[in-house]
Symmetry: C2
Subunit: 202 residues, 2 copies
DNA sequence: TATCCATACTTAACAGTGTTAGGATAATTG
DNA sequence: CAATTATCCTAACACTGTTAAGTATGGATA
């Protein structure tokens, strides 16, 4: 391996280290208490060093989001692979999304509250990204349900929106209403999923 | 009127002026660009003066939220008064909530993203507040639907949660997905409301 | 080997944030 | 008139993201 490649690899590795530290800091300290300076302290470098590996804070957050969406689309594919009935698959996917958000509020906030990281859906669909892959898999699963004749023949896009938006609501409710998780989130999740599928199925 | 009363009235009036300026600043400059210092500049006082009328930033935001909930619960009562069919009333209420959020993103953010201003539902129900009144009216409207035999006999609480959570999802989707409003929010709102009521009605 | 130079990283600073301590001024009270 | 109190301000603290400019260091080259 040449020196340049070695350097590139080192750079790549350091970037990963920073990313890992950032994610950890986010999860431990929370969305509001995350700062570039604290991250710098954690990795024991000056704050400015981070800017050699990430354009700015948003760029760093974007990288973490992409990491998550990579993991998430893998999960969707896995759920799809092990389950046969399309409606059951979709139900599991929605439950997975909600439960992830409920269990990882800080990471969820990071992903979905970081102002329009991915822009419009048109932009999302155009530009290669992990978030795009996730969206496509989600839509395919919905299409499976429609093709199996088990769901109203609305556009798959609109159904994806309805499901993700409702999930988003459940999670954000939990984030901004203290103790929602502890006391009523289980009930709320079940109620929401039941209403959604009762409303969507043929 | 005695001097003390006069003073109290003056204090109250100034508080209102600050509140009005703050709301205006929020709507014009946006949630992210609001700051105590900018508000101070707008009202042409030093930043510290604000702290004589509000304990801190959160206290000021809370006051604006309460103002909104006062207006909102009035609206709910009005809708309830002019409409006869309970399901139609409820549908209008949900649409009103969604549309308010879509049209007033900055104010909506302020109200629902200001971290747990009202605490848990138990706390909300206990402590006198405009938000509490709103919650009660909303629940009564849902109860009307159940009593009229037009809705599944789930607890009204849970149904209120389902509806507000879904509305919250629609609005936040709009806030964090650029151009959602312009292109697809109408469709999304209709789809969501249809699914919800199809899922909830008997 | 000595020079050069890019890479990696730092210090110091700018402009902004919420908030507080303590001081100044004006109005009201005794 | 003196004392008190209400009202407002200046200055500061401890943060924030970000940038400009500077310093070592270590490999490549003359």
């Amino acid at each position: 391996m040449g020196v340049k490649e070695k350097r590139a690899k080192y750079k790549e590795e350091f970037r990963r280290d920073i990313l890992d530290a950032a994610r950890e800091l986010f999860i431990n300290e929370g969305y509001e208490n995350f700062s570039m300076r604290k991250l710098a302290e954690k990795i024991e470098y000056s704050p400015t060093t981070i800017y050699l590996y990430f354009k700015n804070k948003d760029d760093l957050l974007f990288a973490i989001c992409e990491e998550f969406f990579g993991h998430f689309s893998d999960q969707l594919n896995h759920i799809r692979a092990v389950s046969r009935d399309p409606i059951e698959t979709l139900r599991k996917v929605v439950l997975y999304l909600m439960n992830f958000g409920l269990k990882n509020p800080n990471q969820y906030k990071l992903i979905f509250f970081t102002k329009s990281v991915y822009g419009t859906r048109e932009e999302l669909v155009e530009k290669e990204s992990m978030a795009r892959n996730t969206y496509f898999v989600f839509r395919e699963i919905v299409q499976d349900c429609i093709d199996a004749g088990k769901m109203k023949e609305t556009e798959a896009d609109v159904i994806v929106d309805t499901l993700t938006i409702a999930s988003h609501g459940v999670v954000t409710k939990n984030i901004y209403c203290a103790d929602f998780l502890k006391k009523r989130s289980g009930k709320a999740v079940r109620a929401m999923v039941d209403v959604l599928f009762r409303g969507l199925q043929k």
